[in-house]
């Protein structure tokens, strides 16, 4: 994109402008003022706390008492802490299972929504509602659906004769894990589906027509047209999905608060419990900081995936 020449060349016919007039039209000077509000927010409340968090993880700071530097003590403590490793395992399980299923159902739903049908616009609008409603409020609805005594799922299954007594959805460790993952999938599928749908709509229908004329089956059309053209957007959507699932807090906090016996504690919830509720800010910050390498790995994988993709496409031409 070509840029706009804002300042007059020196020694122009009009004569030398004053220093202030030149400064006023200097792009870098004007841009500094334009960037100032956003930069102030992001530096004061994002970059600085990010650094402070890493620093706090090396101190023994507690609520109401400033800490002293203790080196790697918090991390050594966590290294021997079985609950911390359980939370790492839970987080990975939660992220991998939920993201994979969200992707599969989301892609399937996007393919369904991309077909012609009556009330298309309305159906698409409805699909996104779970994503609009605040997570905590829909989690409360799930809490009631998963209630030990009055669960509608248990009731229906008993009436259908499939089980003989209520399932303790949030009280049993395996059921609790499955329940929070299902609630997360429920909330995440609309996002994946609608963003992938936007990608699908950019694929020209003439490609499918041509492939069909060539005798391609519906699987071949998906595999050799849809999937390659959709790969970049899949990479972006799944990066976001993985990041948000990995750092999830509110769904767990509303449903189980990490219980039963820490079976659903994610790193974020454990960090809150140790840092804010127990007041050991240093230890909480160490758990939060321990999430950073995982996040960076996720971003790096998708980044390099996209680079490789670009390189492949470039080499074709």
């Amino acid at each position: 994109m070509s840029t706009i020449q804002t300042s007059m060349p020196p020694g122009a016919a009009m004569g030398e402008p004053s220093a202030w007039a030149r400064l006023k039209t200097n792009r870098n000077f004007v841009a500094l003022w334009f960037m100032l509000p956003a930069a102030a927010f992001l530096i004061l409340f994002l970059a600085y706390p990010l650094g402070l968090g890493v620093w706090m993880s090396f101190t023994d700071e507690k609520i109401g008492r400033s800490g002293v530097f203790v080196g790697l003590e918090n991390y050594e403590w966590l290294w021997d802490d079985a609950i911390f490793w359980l939370s790492v395992f839970n987080t990975l399980l939660y992220t991998i299972v939920a993201s994979a299923i969200k992707f599969a159902i989301g892609l399937y739903l996007a393919l369904l929504l991309n077909r012609h049908m009556p009330f298309k616009a309305m159906i698409r609008a409805i699909v996104l509602i779970p994503f609009i409603v605040p997570t905590v409020l829909s989690a409360i609805a799930f809490w009631w659906i998963y209630d030990a005594q009055f669960s509608i799922i248990s009731w229906s299954l008993i009436k259908l004769g499939l089980i003989s007594q209520n399932i303790n959805f949030l009280g049993d460790t395996s059921w609790a894990r499955a329940s929070v993952i299902i609630a997360n999938i429920w909330r995440g599928v609309p996002f994946v589906a609608i963003t992938l749908l936007a990608g699908l709509q950019t694929v020209s229908p003439s490609l499918y027509e041509a492939a069909t004329l060539d005798g391609a089956t519906s699987w071949q059309r998906f595999r050799y047209i849809t999937y390659p053209l959709l790969t970049p957007i899949i990479a972006v959507v799944m990066t976001f999905s993985v990041l948000f699932t990995f750092t999830d807090f509110q769904l767990i906090w509303a449903l189980t608060r990490g219980g039963p016996v820490n079976a659903t504690h994610l790193m974020a919830t454990l960090s809150y419990q140790r840092g804010i509720i127990s007041g050991r800010l240093g230890e909480g910050a160490a758990i939060a900081t321990a999430m950073i390498p995982f996040l960076m790995a996720a971003i790096a994988i998708s980044w390099f995936g996209m680079q490789r993709r670009k390189w492949q496409q470039g080499s074709d031409q």
Partner: protein, 311 residues
Amino acid sequence: MTDTAALQSKTPSNATATAAKLAAGDDSEGMSYLESLPRRLITLYLPLGIILLVLLFPFYWMGLTSIKPDEQLIDMEKYNPFWVVHPTFKHISKLLFETQYPRWLWNTMYVAVGATTLSIFASVLAAYAIVRLRFKGADTVGVLIFFAYLVPPSILFIPLASVIQAYGLFDSPLSLILVYPTLLIPFSTWLLMGYFKTIPFELEECALIDGASRWQILVKIVVPLAVPGLISAFIFSFTLCWNEFIYALTFLQSTPNKTVPVAIVNEFVDGDIYKWGSLMAGALVGSLPLVILYAFFVEHYVSAMTGAVKE
């Protein structure tokens, strides 16, 4: 979309080469208008119906529970739980008149509007500077802002709590108004950058020749042309604010200052077996403003969500 164009140029030759093959086997699947109704029923309407049912059921359940009398809630043998016999507004009126719910709703609204307005203001300026002023290092700043979008609140809430404490903003909704822009600015800036790029810069050149300042160009030319983008950014930011939980949970302590999501989780959980009616009513009333807003601006909302991802 260069690869699409490349593929399109390739296809005609392939089509003619295999036309004979197609003529031989006439059972190949046609395009959607050729599909028979039973087939569409199985491959499209049935799975779509099931998915929609699952996606909407929690809301039905939420709404149903909030108007169910207590005895029907706990007696699932006498009454069919999927329906309500004598609906009551007891839970909703209890929620609105006997709890501080209106206050929490007001807090949420106040924080969401405040934080969104601040963020949009900062984002418009930043996006314009990055896209159009092309200052030194503009690309780097753009990438940094994108990375800021990837920093999750769950690794920031502990240090932010001590920052907020140090500024003396603890337990004040103002703290949220100042902190939420860190979630909203990266997203809105990225979205608005996309919109600003589509505005022809000849318009700006004309204005510059006529002696307009950068500020005048922004206010009188760029912003009016980017109104759809502004609406998208506003709606999406507003929803994000309403949805935010961990900062609000950490920074707000006293009951009257809480936002709806935090209050619902903390204030209603009192072990009362009859809490479910008011709890569901609270969740329903807390969701409605967003759903109504969304119903009016579906297109803007979708373009905000997909626009930010596509870039």
